[in-house]
Assembly symmetry: C2
Amino acid sequence: MFTPADLLMIPGPTPLPEGVRQAMGLPAIGHRSPEFKAIMKRVLPALQWAFQTQHEVLLYTASGTGAMEAALVNTLNPGDKVLGLTCGVFSARWSEVARSLGLTVVEAAVPAGQPNLPEQLKARLDQETGEPFKAVMLIHSETSTGVLNPVEDLVNIIQDYGALSIVDTVTSLASSPCPVDAWGIDVAVSGSQKGFMIPPGLSFLSYSEKAWQAHQQVRHPGFYFNFAKTRKAQADFTTPYTPATHLIMALDVALAQMQAEGLDAVHARHVQNRNAVRAGVSALGLELLVPDDRYASLAATSVKPPAGISVADIRAGLKKAFGIVVADGQKDLKGQIFRIGHLGYVHPRDVFTTMAALEQVLGHLGHTVKGHAVEAAQQVYQTVPVACAL
Amino acid sequence: MFTPADLLMIPGPTPLPEGVRQAMGLPAIGHRSPEFKAIMKRVLPALQWAFQTQHEVLLYTASGTGAMEAALVNTLNPGDKVLGLTCGVFSARWSEVARSLGLTVVEAAVPAGQPNLPEQLKARLDQETGEPFKAVMLIHSETSTGVLNPVEDLVNIIQDYGALSIVDTVTSLASSPCPVDAWGIDVAVSGSQKGFMIPPGLSFLSYSEKAWQAHQQVRHPGFYFNFAKTRKAQADFTTPYTPATHLIMALDVALAQMQAEGLDAVHARHVQNRNAVRAGVSALGLELLVPDDRYASLAATSVKPPAGISVADIRAGLKKAFGIVVADGQKDLKGQIFRIGHLGYVHPRDVFTTMAALEQVLGHLGHTVKGHAVEAAQQVYQTVPVACAL
């Protein structure tokens, strides 16, 4: 049989729309040309639309981790005390980045599969003595576990406390509702290879007036990720340094596609796909790492393998027999869960085929299937037929 | 008439080989997949080949300016005293980056079109009193003017003095001879959209044992550009954070093309193209900003317009009539020079057509042509026929 390109059902990089691939393959373009400026004039307002913010969104040629460093190095000074809310591998990265910059870090972690809850945060902040936290760092969608944090409530508490809220929205922006201004998020960072449906290499950062004021107090904000330099260049629809031109041309295409779909429809599609995956794997008798729908990420779903069947065998079966890639667990969760991504350019037909393949692979590995995964997914799409009018 | 894609005769981004464009348009790939690791296993040794270094070359998803910041933030601490050798806009950036990081910067500048000379550097270092410089920052090919600095000699002096040599080789690597180990360069940084013939968004950094030792003394080396984290990941042919997958796939193609051509042949082609451009514009009676061939960049040639004819008109004529893009001068040199790039995927036939078009545009603008630009270029290629066997 022929081998199709892999279907990436991982929490990023996500599959690429055809138009994005075409843009990636275009000839070279000068980044100081009028043609490129015209692209920036479309891309920058469209990013504001996606972030639902009045401020411009800063655009970096770097992956999401670069924008995380940008968030901290531009708003805090070495020695500043910060609180890191950790619920998995990616949220833990906030504290790692902060330490590497000489910040004083306190970490508050919850067990894998659980969200950071507002009441816990409130209690943690109330008990803190001595110097107050200058910032609280947290994540919206933690794809190492599949948790969706209640960011709006968390940010409200941080706001009342008087600290900056610095939020990793890498896998939530453009998939989950995340209106950064309405929620009062001081700094939100996101990446290109997730809801934005283009390859990795770009990251995006929104900031509040309060974050901008904090930036004024920073002694050594660095150069490459510097807020002020980036903002100044973007006011003229350019970038301070050479940007990844082709990723921005691809982003132009992707944002136009998102705007044609509509932000609410993008979110509704992600809700449906997540619900369909959760219904499908549950129908197969598999256990979800995040049992509570309210805290289930719209980007990825973590599934525990049936007793006696290894994650490695499930992943290998899906990949070898069907060219479908799902992710392993990370660090302590390696081999304990597999993660099905349903983020970005993912359509119900990708969910159907993944559910059908998973059912078949599990059967082949000896798992007695308790229900029909595809049927369960169909029921979800039947209930709220957003992706296509049935 | 139809409009072809612009021919970019600027000092980067450079034209893209077909294979590079095809790689850019490939489907999504997981950056933790065996397929991507196989690409990294080819790319990383090929980068060492291009840099002519025994150490691994650190790969960043960022443009060259990001790697410049990486060079400084990983080897120096705030307050350290450094010397910046400036001969144009890009070399001046070293001092800007250094200041933004809290380093104490002394700048030694030469007029536009002149190189930083070894005897000047020696005298400058000898006269310095008080704390010695921890590092000297300089550029190899300064494309804002078209100067090629005598880096080997400069680095020798820096080595004798005992400081780190930190060199911007963005537009020299993979176009000019630059064996970083043989020359003893402590840190060299380069970018993807130059000699490496792919779109912007990646940068590369080589380091010496001495630079690595300096890294051990750095208090807050940061996270995204961290030497140790990058080196550790690359030892396993991966990256510490999500890389720009498609640019790396494109780099894989470009490096294979360079290896098939051979490094000496790549350099010889650039020498020929530069000589042909210099001969061509000289035949038209135009003055070169860098009169001395020994200090003429292999990446770009700066040309003064004839009296009474504006740079804007020359650029507009080339672009509108022929779809050929050459660069304006930057900052103080804006309108004073135009810059013809001959870097990366540039073939003698691109030089021929650029010379023919320039001759015609200048004639149209009223310049009395004193010779034939194409004929002069032909003579260069006749003398050393590297690009094709005549």
